[in-house]
């Protein structure tokens, strides 16, 4: 049983505070959706948890199973069991998915051949063409291919907690289904904990959340069950203006 606990997290960019005290918890086997309009700080939250370049932390903590992540470099956070599926996966010219996965799992003593086998098997499950595995990471991939590729890596790396940053944005129906079904299966089978960050509730019909939180202007302003996502779909975010932080 793993637990990612975000407490009083304050962070931003170039001295400008974007997250103004965020509290949330994600546990193994749980899907926790954070929804919010553009500019609410959703992507900042994802990258601050992962330790992205350019983000500054002003206060609070992020722990995984009681261990403070904010003091670790990104790669150690990943080795500790955290994964971030990026909204805009970076193109890395000349570095193949196979090589990257082999390098990521080498610290755990896994042989490259074993990793290549995992990658190939997972590619079939999430519908990534085998031809893409030897290609440079994310270079010249369509939006859907990139998100499938992120999901493939999630499955291969088998983290304890995965943060999915707008993995649904720009996806066609088939890719959305493939991605969310695969994540859901991993959640059910091996107890992955998922923090899913999204603007739209469309994804949440495929990847059913246990908890939905609303992020607005850097704070969680409401939290509830799946019904909250449906409510947002009809009413929008306008009802969650400043000054009414929910419990």
């Amino acid at each position: 049983m793993s637990e990612l606990v975000v407490t009083g997290l304050r962070a931003g960019v170039e001295g400008k505070e974007i997250l103004r005290g965020v509290d949330l918890t994600v546990s193994s086997g749980q899907v926790h959706a954070v929804m919010g309009p553009n500019g609410s700080g959703k992507s900042t939250l994802a990258h601050v948890i992962m330790g992205g370049p350019g983000y500054e932390v002003y206060g609070g903590s992020v722990t995984l199973d009681g261990v403070e992540l904010l003091e670790m470099p990104t790669w150690q956070r990943a080795q500790a069991g955290l994964f971030l599926a990026m909204q805009y996966p970076t193109e890395v010219p000349g570095v193949s998915l196979d090589d990257a996965m082999a390098a990521a799992l080498a610290p755990q003593g896994r042989a490259p051949a074993e990793v290549a086998g995992l990658v190939a098997a997972e590619a079939v499950r999430v519908g990534v063409s085998p031809a893409l595995l030897a290609r440079p990471l994310n270079v010249d991939l369509s939006g859907g291919e990139k998100k499938r590729n992120e999901t493939l890596q999630l499955a291969v790396l088998a983290p304890k907690i995965a943060v999915l940053d707008e993995i649904d944005s720009g996806l066609d129906v088939d890719a959305l289904k493939a991605v969310s079904q695969r994540v859901e299966l991993i959640t059910n089978e091996v107890g992955l904990g998922v923090l899913v960050i999204t603007h739209y509730s469309r994804l949440l019909r495929e990847l059913r959340p246990d908890v939905v939180s609303v992020l607005r202007k850097g704070r969680i302003v409401a939290s509830g069950g799946p019904e909250l996502a449906e409510e947002l779909e009809s009413t929008g975010y306008a009802g969650y203006d400043e000054g009414s932080p929910a419990a």
């Binding site: 370049p53 470099p73 990104t74 010219p93 570095v95 610290p107």
Partner: protein
């Protein structure tokens, strides 16, 4: 010039001369034409002066640090030249092998079947037309003259008209004399409609040495020549090299340099495309660590119409290393319908390292397609972050990104055992500097 010593002065024990004078040049042996050619070059060299960094093509260079008097020309007696065991490792399958020791070809082997069909791999001094072979190279500067003046020998590769040589012709250079100046010459003449690959590998012991290698590639009409030069010299070698090529009608040259070593290692590459429809592909990968400096000057010289050149030079510098790339595309009045491209990209891996990139164009005609691009910068933070977010340690992420950056060029090199070893050599070199990697 008076005072020329008798030919009997060919050295036996006393291998080193003391100065770079015509008298000194005249003590080298060989046929009369060779000695006359050396002497004439030595006299021209003596009458001139060394270039300095005020000349544009020497700007940013370390030429001012060169003290020629600190070196002695190497004569390398033929019988002392057992090649180091490691040299044979890089050779693999080949159509011919030449071992060049301190500038002198000391061992030449050619596939007998190819030799019977006319493939020539020989020391210029042993060829009836050796003088013509040495005369093919234009004089770039004083160092071309110095090379000619003190050549102990020269490797000539001549591929006869129409011959396809499947395996590479491998030329292995090694320097091992402390304080020596080495003058090597390679001349490749690819006959009409021939097809061949020539791979040169330069290495040295950890000695203080000066190296002034000159390469001439003459690609005949409709011929295809692939040329690769791997420079893995020791950290105290000062190199001023020149690679010149002429590309004939409908011919294709693919010329590549991989530079890993040296203290200061300069290569000037001039490619003259003087036959209509000729194509010259020029590529380089260079990785400089420690305090070394790599210095590349290129000239893509379009003389004939409908010619093409495409240059891609990619480098990385780390620690306090430096690099210079300066390139000129010159399109002459007759070179209508020409395509010329030039790209230089540099990764700066440490704060103390630096790279210069200076592209230039000189176009004297219309109806050309021409472009150049250059970039100098650190590893992209987002690329590093992406890999690290997968759990890849920073030094490994950096190594993957640098190898990926070089991959575009490495993938274009002629396939051979030498190239297979290059990725491993780069990985080793990048791993050695891993402790210098920045924080995550």
């Amino acid at each position: 010039m008076a005072g020329r010593p008798a030919p009997a002065a060919r050295a036996t024990k006393d291998l080193f001369l003391t100065t770079f004078t015509p008298d000194a040049a005249a003590t080298l042996g060989g046929p009369d034409w060779f000695r006359a050619r050396r002497l004439a070059a030595a006299e021209r060299f003596s009458a001139g002066s060394l270039p300095d960094a005020t000349e544009e093509i020497w700007r940013y260079s370390r030429i001012s640090e060169l003290d020629l008097d600190a070196y002695r020309p190497a004569l390398g007696a033929p019988d002392e030249a057992a090649p180091p065991g490691s040299l044979t490792e890089v050779t693999g399958e080949r159509a011919a092998l030449v071992v060049v020791h301190n500038g002198r070809p000391t061992r030449i082997e050619v596939d007998p079947a190819l030799a019977a069909k006319g493939l020539v791999v020989a020391d210029a001094g042993d060829l009836p037309d050796g003088d013509d072979m040495l005369g093919l190279t234009p004089v770039a500067d004083a160092f071309t003259e110095l090379n000619t003046a003190f050549l102990p020998g020269a490797t000539v590769v001549r591929i006869p008209r129409g011959m396809v040589v499947e395996q590479p012709i491998v030329i292995v250079h090694h320097l091992d004399g402390d304080g020596i100046a080495s003058f090597a010459r390679t001349v490749v003449v690819a006959g009409e409609n021939s097809d061949a690959t020539v791979i040169e590998h330069q290495s040295s012991s950890d000695v203080v040495a000066f190296s002034d290698p000159v390469v001439e590639l003459d690609v005949g009409d409709a011929a295809r020549l692939r040329y690769l030069n791997v420079q893995d010299l020791g950290p105290r070698v000062f190199q001023v090299g020149y690679q010149s090529s002429r590309v004939g009608r409908d011919a294709t040259l693919q010329s590549s340099v991989v530079a890993l070593g040296g203290d200061y290692a300069r290569v000037r590459t001039d490619s003259r495309i003087d036959g209509k429809g000729g194509t010259s592909y020029l590529t380089a990968v260079y990785f400089a660590d420690g305090s070394r400096m790599h210095d590349f000057r290129t000239i893509q010289d379009h003389i004939a119409p409908k010619t093409t050149s495409d240059l891609l030079f990619k480098g990385a510098v780390s620690d306090t290393a430096r690099s210079v790339y300066s390139g000129l595309i010159r399109i002459g009045k007759e070179a209508r319908g020409t395509n010329a491209f030039q790209t230089n990209r540099n990764l700066v891996l440490s704060e103390g390292a630096g790279a210069e990139s200076v592209p230039n164009l000189e176009i004297e005609t219309n109806d050309v397609i021409c472009s150049h691009a250059s970039a100098v910068g650190p590893i992209d933070d987002e690329q590093r972050y992406y890999l690290e977010s997968r759990g890849i340690p920073p030094e490994v992420a950096e190594r993957l990104i640098v190898l990926g950056f070089f991959g575009e060029v490495l993938d274009r090199l002629p396939a051979s055992d030498a190239v297979t070893g290059l990725r491993a050599a780069l990985v080793r070199r990048l791993a050695e500097r891993a402790s210098g990697a920045g924080p995550a």
